[in-house]
Amino acid sequence: MKTKLAAVMLASAVVFAGCGSNNNGADQAKEASTNTEQSASKVENWDEITGQYRDFALDQTDKLVAETDKFVQAVKSGDVETAKSLYAPTRMYYERIEPIAEALGDLDPNIDARENDVEEKDWRGFHRIEQSLWVNNTTAGAEDYASQLLDDTKTLRALIETVEVEPSLLVTGAVELLNEVSSSKVTGEEERYSHTDLYDFAANVEGARKIYELLKAELNKQDAELEGQIGTSFDNLEQALATYKSGDGYVSYTDLKEEDTKKLSQLLDALAEPLSQMGTILGA
């Protein structure tokens, strides 16, 4: 989670809020008042693309709310084992759409802050419950955090309904997702108690892949080589990640050796570098 960035993105969401999805591309070009908006007209069907991403984000948050509900019930009923088994898979719905959640003010810290990211009195959300489950092996004391978490995911769902997805958010969001992996998941810092980092890793990559798939056709028109390079790099990373699958999920981060994390990290860098050039479709 990145509080600073969240503020910036929120600002940009507000700036572009006037550009409704019912405006067509030509109107947008006429009304253009900023670089990003002008360049966005380089792609004609932005509304369609951002609309599809919005649908994806809504679908993921719907599932997030439903799965969090189950997780929260387990916590509240004192079922530690069920809560533990639901924890990581539930979080994946959040991790896939993290950039958009980060654009929504305090929601990201409320849902996803790690210990010391925020003041102790403000610390809540998934990781607070994670600590309770894995360090103290109990749900006792976590019930209120569980209720808050469910409320926060519902608020997220409601806010995503209203948010305007900007082309620049898509382009930078894909790289953001991989940067999340690079800075906290591949190092095992995200899930410091449960060591379920690879679930987040996979979900972040899936979220980035979704954005790439949406932009693929446009990107191919403007830079086929870049598009191909990104596709190959996604394949390479996903293949490597698949070797750490275990049942429906992934092995514990503690099972990874240094050469494993190094390999994953290098494949991630190999993907994120060309992916960061995707902004080329926004023009100069």
Binding site: T36, P274, S276, T280, A284
Partner: protein, 428 residues
């Protein structure tokens, strides 16, 4: 002189062997000052680059052209700082390797000139092509020297038959305690510059350009006393306090360089003609142990006086090393197991050393310094030059009590690149 004339004057030296007269003539073209501080062929191409730039800023004397008959950074007088990087290729496609070498060539030529890499440095929607930390700085005599290791010639790229016989993994030497993390690599890149930030910038950008094709395997930064701290340019001292490099052959003597450093077309590997073989050894110095040995022991270990750098029993640094001189009791003045006695041998085998000191913080297991020497040398035939020398040193060198070799790599450094060509274009 018109721009075209200058260009012609510059290009012509790329196409024929360079005589000393050419060198002087070019010095006239480019400005006599351009030759100061540079030597041999490197200086010629330094001058050439400057003339081609024409209206370049006054710092052009600070510039060493990337292009030339030989790669820069070999006979170039050692700059203040080093960043060495070993890369492993992650692609199995020789086309990708060629693309990488072309991109690296363009970027390196730009960095040697001190200009930004690439063209997309002002688009708000994209990450800038150049990472920017060297923007506006003088070229600082940046040289970037590329070579390929033995593993480059394994089954991946179908180049096995092109591997020079000279380029093989080194045998195990006495005193080796090699650590995988500081060994080998498909590609070796030596960046030297008079500014550490510029040197780092070079490796950082090369690594970035390589993403998806190659990854860093290991890196090492190095330093020596700066030109600013020693404007006279005396032989630098290593971290043991002794002068290092006194016995180097004269890089200004083309005949000697052809004998000692440059692979020749008749040496069995035509694509390496004009290139050189680089050996890199990460040698940790047990500085804590060294610091508590007496001056007498230290001097007997090196075979030289610490202060003057002179061979034991002599007065001046460059006095001849005479191993036959005896003391009053008939014992050799310069101990037979001293570093200079063994390294020099009978004087017939030479290498061109281009080492830098390194400091990589603290060894957390012991609380001691991880500091020493990143030994780099160039030779024409490693089998006849470096290996026999190191075999003797590894077994007998009195210095071994104070040092440990913990990293090692060898690379075939390509011949120089002509403008329009790319590194390794004689091979692939």
């Amino acid at each position: 002189m018109t721009t075209d004339d200058k260009k012609h004057a510059g290009d012509s030296i790329l196409e024929k062997p360079v005589s000393r007269r050419d060198l002087l003539r070019l010095a006239g073209v480019g400005g006599a000052g351009l030759l100061l501080g540079a030597s041999g062929v490197g200086a010629i191409f330094g001058a050439k680059g400057s003339t081609a730039l024409g209206a370049a800023k006054p710092s052009s004397e600070d510039q060493i052209d990337f292009y030339g008959k030989h790669q820069a950074g070999i006979t170039t007088p050692p700059q203040d700082f080093l960043m060495f990087a070993s890369f492993d290729l992650t692609t199995n496609s020789i086309d990708d390797v060629r693309k990488l070498f072309k991109s690296w060539t363009e970027a390196s030529a730009a960095m040697a000139k001190g200009v930004m890499i690439g063209e997309v440095n002002d688009n708000p929607n994209l990450p800038p092509t150049d990472t920017g930390e060297a923007a506006g700085l003088n070229p600082s005599k940046t040289t970037i020297t590329f070579g390929v290791g033995p593993s480059f010639f394994d089954a991946r790229f179908g180049l096995a038959s092109k591997r020079p016989a000279v380029l093989a993994d080194l045998p195990a030497f006495g005193g080796d305690e090699l650590r995988e993390e500081w060994c080998g690599g498909d590609i070796g890149v030596q960046v030297s510059a008079n500014d550490m930030q510029i040197a780092f910038h070079a490796i950082r950008n090369l690594a970035r350009i390589a993403r998806g094709k190659a990854v860093l395997r290991w890196t090492q930064e190095g330093f020596q006393r700066t030109g600013g701290a020693d404007s006279a340019g005396a032989t630098p001292r290593n971290l043991m306090g002794f002068k290092d490099g006194t016995g180097n052959p004269d890089t200004k003597d083309e005949a000697v360089m052809n004998e000692v450093v440059w692979a020749q077309s008749g040496d069995g590997t035509p694509w390496m003609a004009g290139g050189s073989y680089m050996i890199v050894r990460r040698i940790r110095i047990r500085v804590e142990v060294w610091d508590r040995s007496t001056l007498g022991d230290q001097e007997a270990t090196f075979g030289r006086h610490r202060d003057s750098g002179a061979p034991i029993g002599s007065k001046k640094e460059f006095d001849p090393v005479d191993l036959s001189r005896k003391d009053g009791k008939g014992k050799p003045l310069i101990p037979v197991n001293s570093h200079v006695a063994l390294a020099r041998g009978n004087g017939s085998v030479k290498i061109l050393r281009r080492s830098y000191s390194y400091s990589s913080g603290m060894d957390n297991r012991t609380g001691q310094f991880d500091a020493g020497l990143l030994f780099i040398c160039y030779n024409r035939d490693t089998r006849k030059q470096f290996i026999p020398m190191q075999q003797k040193l590894g077994q007998m060198d009195a210095l071994n009590e104070y040092i440990v070799h913990n990293g090692s790599a060898v690379f075939a450094c390509f011949p120089g690149v002509r403008e329009g060509g790319y590194i390794g274009d004689t091979l692939l």
